[in-house]
């Protein structure tokens, strides 16, 4: 299983969401897209994005100023 990683560091709303959506299209169902972001707003926004689209937010965490998300494509 190839790793799917999106580096959205330095990008502001709504770019992390738009780029994640674009990249999710290339991720096979059941596989996980990992996202790195520096936008504090992306914490609430990726949760809302997953609620609305039905993709699963497997994890949401932070390391210093970096926010990390794992989204499983459904």
């Amino acid at each position: 299983m190839a790793e799917h990683l999106l580096n959205a560091e330095g990008l502001n709303c709504p770019l992390p969401i738009l780029k994640a959506k674009k990249m999710l299209k290339t991720v096979p169902a059941g596989e996980i897209l990992k996202i790195r972001s520096t936008d504090p707003g992306s914490v609430a926004d990726f949760a809302a994005f997953c609620n609305q689209t039905g993709n699963e937010l497997v994890s949401s965490s932070s390391e210093g100023d970096i926010y990390l998300f794992e989204i499983k494509r459904t």
Partner: protein, 166 residues
């Protein structure tokens, strides 16, 4: 594309009436985000919002009638008095300052958001009356748009879950 009544997909329409650099953001941000969240989006461009469909975008910012405008400068916020807009070059400087600030903060350009709108299959409708009124030609506008009138929007709006006027 517009089969909202046949599926469970949510839908949204936005009437876009303003074309300044700052006011161009809310409709394009909301439209692209909603489309990324599987919402079917239609945008209806009318009056001063219509130039946002031109191939060559040239949006400006004005301090005039914008008393809440404050720009961050050297760790402070500088108020932009309405009056300064009268001075030649001030609005141009404010526009440049805003564009630089947006670039620095990783905010997408309107050009990028509009390109994303096309990629996300957002339905973009140009108001026929405004085209006539301000003497625009459809060939000055980007490809892939539709032309329509008030009734076109009303039909879309009656089937949409969310309708916004910006």
């Amino acid at each position: 594309m517009l089969d909202a009544d046949l599926s469970n997909a949510k839908s949204m329409s936005i009437i876009v009436t303003k074309g300044s650099l700052d006011w161009a953001y809310p409709p394009f941000i909301l439209a692209t985000t909603a489309a990324a969240m599987d919402v079917e989006v239609s945008m209806f461009f009318t009056f001063y919002g219509l130039p946002l469909l031109k191939k060559e975008l040239d949006m400006k910012l004005t301090t005039l009638g914008n008393p809440a405008m404050e720009m961050p400068m050297a760790g402070m916020h500088v108020k932009m008095p309405n009056m300064v807009s009268m001075i030649p070059g001030v609005d141009r400087a404010a526009t440049t300052m805003m564009k630089n600030l947006m670039k620095k903060k990783g905010v997408a350009s309107i050009e990028d958001l509009r390109e994303a709108s096309v990629e996300l299959d957002i339905r973009m409708i140009a108001c026929q009356m405004t085209l006539d009124l301000f003497e625009y030609d459809k060939k000055d506008m980007i490809d892939g748009i539709e032309i329509g009138g008030a009734a076109t929007w009303v039909e879309i709006a009656t089937k949409s879950d969310i309708n916004l006027f910006i």
